[in-house]
């Protein structure tokens, strides 16, 4: 098992603010890595760097053996990086089904006809099949979050970036989501999951990474990381 994603000394600054500070990280193929950290720790910026929305100032990002630091987002998508945003960004004027067709035909480079079956399958798995012909802009928040995940899945990713997809869900909905994540795990897709709903994250993540001020402060098995005094102080605000 080699690393599917490897960051080596990656830095990103906005003006004088160093958001990611010399971060190195290796993600094994097939694992689910949970990412924790206080607000402003650089979690979403880390995703932006991996998906290509922003370019790193320094360091290397390798995906599946390719150096991708200088590839534009659409190329990274075609290489197999899918992303679900924290705030869902569906194509609001298109139907749910069309949203998936766009993702499937351009993201995974399938022919139009071949995309239909996989789109229907993904809609079924994410519970959106009955809303396939609704305009995406008319969906409720929960369904938008489902669509965000479904659309990322439809691009046929090897690596999936999930950004706070459980935020704002009820307990029951969050558990359904965890089931969905476990099902995706079984298909062999690697995942990076940023989540403040810690118990949902712990239910699915095999390993945890904690960021603070753009640096890695802890990494490893969930129980060990959650028990780390530094993590407890920085992230949970406990006096240690």
């Amino acid at each position: 098992m080699g690393a599917i994603l490897a960051l080596d000394g990656v830095s990103k600054s906005y003006g004088a603010l160093r958001v990611i500070d010399g971060l190195s990280l290796a993600v094994e193929e097939g694992e689910t890595l949970g990412i924790l950290g206080p607000n402003g720790a650089g979690k979403t910026t880390l995703f932006n760097l991996v998906s290509g929305d922003v370019r790193a100032d320094a360091g290397q990002i390798r995906f599946g053996g390719h150096e991708i630091s200088h590839e534009p987002p659409h190329r990274r998508c075609r290489l197999g990086i899918g992303r679900a945003y924290q705030v869902p960004q569906p194509f609001g004027a298109m139907t749910v089904f069309e949203n998936l067709i766009v993702a499937a035909s351009f993201g995974s480079q399938k022919r139009e006809k071949e995309t239909y079956d996989s789109a229907v399958q993904v809609l079924g798995e994410t519970g959106l099949l009955s809303k396939a012909n609704r305009l995406a802009g008319t969906l409720t928040l929960l369904d938008r979050k489902r669509l965000e995940l479904a659309r990322a899945l439809a691009t046929g990713p090897r690596l999936l970036l999930l950004d706070e997809i459980a935020g704002g869900l009820t307990e029951h909905e969050a558990m359904e989501l965890v089931e969905e994540i476990r099902r995706i795990q079984r298909t062999g897709v690697t995942m990076l999951w940023i989540e403040h709903v810690v118990h949902a994250l712990l239910a699915a993540a095999g390993r945890l990474l904690v960021l603070d001020a753009g640096r890695k402060i802890a990494e490893g098995a969930p129980v060990a990381v959650m028990g780390d005094p530094l993590v407890q102080r920085v992230y949970m605000g406990l006096a240690a």
Partner: protein, 287 residues
Amino acid sequence: MLSFLDTLVQGVLLGGLYALFALGQSLLFGVMRLTNTAHGDFIILSAFVAWSLAVVTGSPWLALIVLLPLAFAGGYLLQRLVLNGTIGKDPMRSLVVTFGLAIVIQNVLQQIYTADPRSIDSGGLNTATFQLAEGFSIGALPLLIFAAALALTVGLQLLFDRTDLGRAFRAVSDDREAAELMGLDHRHVYALATGIAFLVVAFAGTLHGMKTTVSATDGPSLLLYAFEAVIIGGMGSFYGTLVGGMLLGVTQDIGFRIDPGWGIWTGHVVFLGALLLRPSGLFPRTR
């Protein structure tokens, strides 16, 4: 009664020409919110190129066939090399750049073709008519132009609604960043849109040049008709653009019959009325 019907039919046919002028603009606006102020000049440019090609090949139809791939390639490259750099939050950049292009095109055309008006030899088609009744006949060329406008409108709408490329156009129009994450290269998609818009421009220029005379500085007035048709019809809807063009044509024709000096003016009045009463147009797309 016959005179009323005549006005209506001639107006609708004229509107077909305006719709042809406007469809390319409608497409660019729908996909990338780009207002191409050189649109009319590109129509005139393609009319002159078609004129030259018709002189060489001896047929306006052969000229059009040669022009179409040139127009697509020209549109693609223009977008890829020039216009993509101007698209962003600030609409001023694309307005200034296309305004500059308009001036360049007008002056280059005047340099090459002089200020003389020219017309593409249509082999007698521009004077052929179908007599339907005493005092009521339909020109063959206006009918052909209307049919072309109708076919291109339906074609573009189907392309947008039913095909992968159309979904790509709508996706980048809706949310460019999210579309990039779905594997779409917006620079390429924009360039394809402009290439297709320029195919329509080639049709418009060639048919306009066959119907009447064109001269190097005609572009801005065509741009005005195109704008009016797009806005009356509603931004981003091709059927709306067709209806907007026809409405403009019919009102102009009514104006012409009241007083030959009134035609263009009544068209503008209706446009202003549409702006006041339905600023989002007759068939706005839900956004």
